[in-house]
Amino acid sequence: MTINKVNTHIVPIEFEYHAPGSLDEAVALLEKYGEDAKILAGGTDLIPHMKQRKTEPKHIVNIKKIPELACIEETPDGIKIGALAKLRAVELSPQIREKVPMLSEAAGSIGSVQIRNLGTIGGNICNASPSADMATALMALEATVHVYGKDGAKEYPIAEFFQGRSDVSLERGELLTGFTVPYPPEGAGSAFEKVGWTTFDIATVNVAAVLTLKGGKIDHCSIALGACSPAPIKVALAEEILKGKEPTDEVLEEAMEFVAACVEPRKRWRRAPPEYRRRSSQALAMDAVGRAVEQARRHQ
């Protein structure tokens, strides 16, 4: 019982503060202190966790002084977004709004403006909450993750980044530096949907969809579902059902059965029971796919 310990006001623990100016310096510190160190980016998760004593790091490594980590830029492979890019910047970036509007939509759905002005896209991913809205959106967009460590830079698909609830595939001394979000195919439509109890709330369920139409039929199709399993997932079976078909109500409804089937109940699911998540994940997927289809039709 932690009633005399846990609160969101007092940080009675002592720690050493580091503010490296380069990636190599940061990685050296993370390598040196390992589990004893925590990375400070936006702080919207770390600081409350410290007050709640979920973590009592001996070292805080503030990475905000590393200039290249906050970029948002167009590259031939897609939009490159630094891990330190604020959620608010992702929401408002003209490049993101033009090229991958769904990502902007997902970012804009998180918390409040105040939280989005602090929180970063990298933090939202590294915290590895099953309900992280950026995670579901980046899954559907099939983004690439960039990681930097003592052996230099490496990259892999975001689906391989999540190892389960609150766990990501970062080794000791490694730092997530950003993402490349590939440009969706020409004429694509996309949408992000979530349900929470208030606008301020984290998602009880979220869904992201990207698709294209060819001759009135769904061609490319990518659907991701969040908050229904230990990490966000791609709903491959639903994607397969939809591909090559006209998006009629019957087809959509058939595909949605597979979305609901992805709900993997947890032992202590306090926010909502599995039945609620199944029903609402279907509803949100219908909405997301429906909106993406409309958008794709407009692009034709």
Partner: protein
Amino acid sequence: MSFPNMLYGRVLKSPHAHARIKAMDVSGAEAMGAVTLTPEEVPDVTYCPRLVSIPSATYKDWKVLTDKPHYVGEAIGAVAAESEEEAQKALEAIEVDYEVLGASFDALESMKPGAEPIHDEIYLEDDLLKVENNVGCQLEITEGDPKALEDADVVIERTYRTNRRYHNQLETKSVMVRPEADGGISVWSTTQTIHNTRLLLHDIYGIPMGKIRVYKVALGGSFGSSIHVNPVVNVAVGLALKSRRPVKLSYTREEDIRDHCAYQMIFKLKLGAYKNGKLAGGRLEAYLDIGAHQIQAYPLLGCVVGWWVSLYKLPYKDYVGKAVYTNKVPSCAFRGYGNPQISWVVETMMDELAGKIGVDPLDFRLNNYIGEGDIFWGQGPSVKSIIQSCGVEEILTRGAEMVDWYNRPNPEEQTGRYRRGWGVGRGYHTSSAGAPVPSSIVDFGGAMLKMNEDGTFDYVSALMDHGCGTQDAHIKIVAEELCVTADMVNIIRADTGTTVYDVCTHASRGVYSGGGAALKVAMKVKEKIRDFAGKILDAYPHAVRIRYDEEREQAVVFAEGIEGREVTYREIAETARHKNWGTAAAVESYRQPSCPPHFTGYFVEVEVDTWTGKVKLLRVVAGADIGTVINPMLAAGQVHGGFAQGWSMTVLEDLPYDPDDGDLVNRGSVANYKVPTTMDMLDLDDLTVFFADTYEPTGPFGAKGIGEGALNPVAGTVANAIQNALGVRFFQLPITPIRILEALREKEG
């Protein structure tokens, strides 16, 4: 706020829902340099933290620090140190050995034979009482002939369960105490009553009243959570007296959410009606889950029946109310004081009854409401008066016209994903607890007003303003009476030493009663000004008139029709000083003669997404009868806030307990206690507020209250709108998306 040499306090809270402390070792905390406080070091006084009722109606079961905690979060010790961080470390160094006792988390379970007794003995005034079946107090009332209910054409009986809600006021419960050289103390705290704070501290610590000064502090909200003196205040005084240094003690949000909440209630209601659209009678069983201590359970039992029987005319009424102890956070008043709970039940059943007898729910309400000329006892059976102003009919008929009520959708005709519905609900709240004769509730206030030597005025009142603009309304009342602009009347910072007694800002009495006191002193001062002016002008004081002169920016007293016979307030004040006439000043106490209900009514349109269970607000029309509207924007603001709070009560809020460890399921995290933000509410263009054209003869300039009536009908109205959309009724709050989908699955498969 801070003082030089100030210490920061932290409270040691029980981690068990029910336990006996076998031993407490504070040596670790003291070794860190902290001042500690244990149950043996505070006065062994059993008290009630709310002193609004007279002693013979006040049940006592609290200790400043207890060695037998009854809920997770109860104060069992305290520390004070140089910083909050150090105090926190010292707190964690205290070791306690507990004997854990059985606990109960449900009112009905708690009353069962064999349930663990939560309190063996409590006090009523100074008499020791034995608690049986964990019932802290009870009330039974019957009026009329039971045959009326037996003869009814339609009778419905149902059980309803409300939610447990947290006040979520802006600042957590906080206090600063400074020990004074004369052995007294100065106190700044989050309170709705400085005088009752002083009374209680005097009772507990035995310090003479004149040496306890409790200062008014600006509040950002309270909603009833500081009608009683909050536990932090009594603990901080103990720390300050022991350390002989100023102590600041401010609860964290996690502590605050385990410090107070609204009363959760279980109702069994039976209502009967005749085919002619008239109510026959009813029977109500009310079980109030009061948590681990009594704050104002007994008066609440009276109010619950009062709220119930004063909504609609019931030829026969039968009531049993029981206040039941559970091992949960003690419940206290929360805007509406039981009225939102019982109004939800009554308004839900009124709709259902209307459906059964085939009358439109709006017409059914118009057929049965209690209005002008009727006896009203909203504040309980000991507070009766006659209603002298009533806008119920205007609210309902005007609102119905605005929303085209009689053409609302039929739930049976809707089958799609999104379904819309309109609901109606009405309610009221008392403005104060005044009445022609004394009751078991203390309700009077007072004020002081003096004219300054430049013709401006200083207004001094003990009445607390919780951020609602109550004092602003007083200033407008004083200025109106004295024919000056509001900026010529100053609000003076005040404390118990510089004010006369005011009971508390609660019961929607700030404008009606507090404003009544303001008007009384303004009238007295005006009389003195007339006297002075009469001498100066060589005119009869009762014949002179007063007007405001915009050019001179002064009120002018003049003898009408006689040129040159006029004098400004400034000249009057100056002359009075030069001629040694004294100050035009008055100090008065004021008891209001009545307890007028302010009536409210809502029309709400919602859209329910039957796939996600989410309910969206589309349109709200709110009508309020508050007599003369003193400040239209602030009054509308009260309706906006009341609606938001009621909406939140209906669809979002609850504080469930984890029976495994007796703590809140959300573990005190306000992030896991959902309330709507502005983004979740409808645009104010879609929320129309109108005021009925009424005048309350007993109120200052015809005014009544608004604070609580703005909230009371909301849950019933929203629930009725959801029913209109889905054809499903809910008997438990909140009506969450999860519950909506469950109910739809049951109904439609």
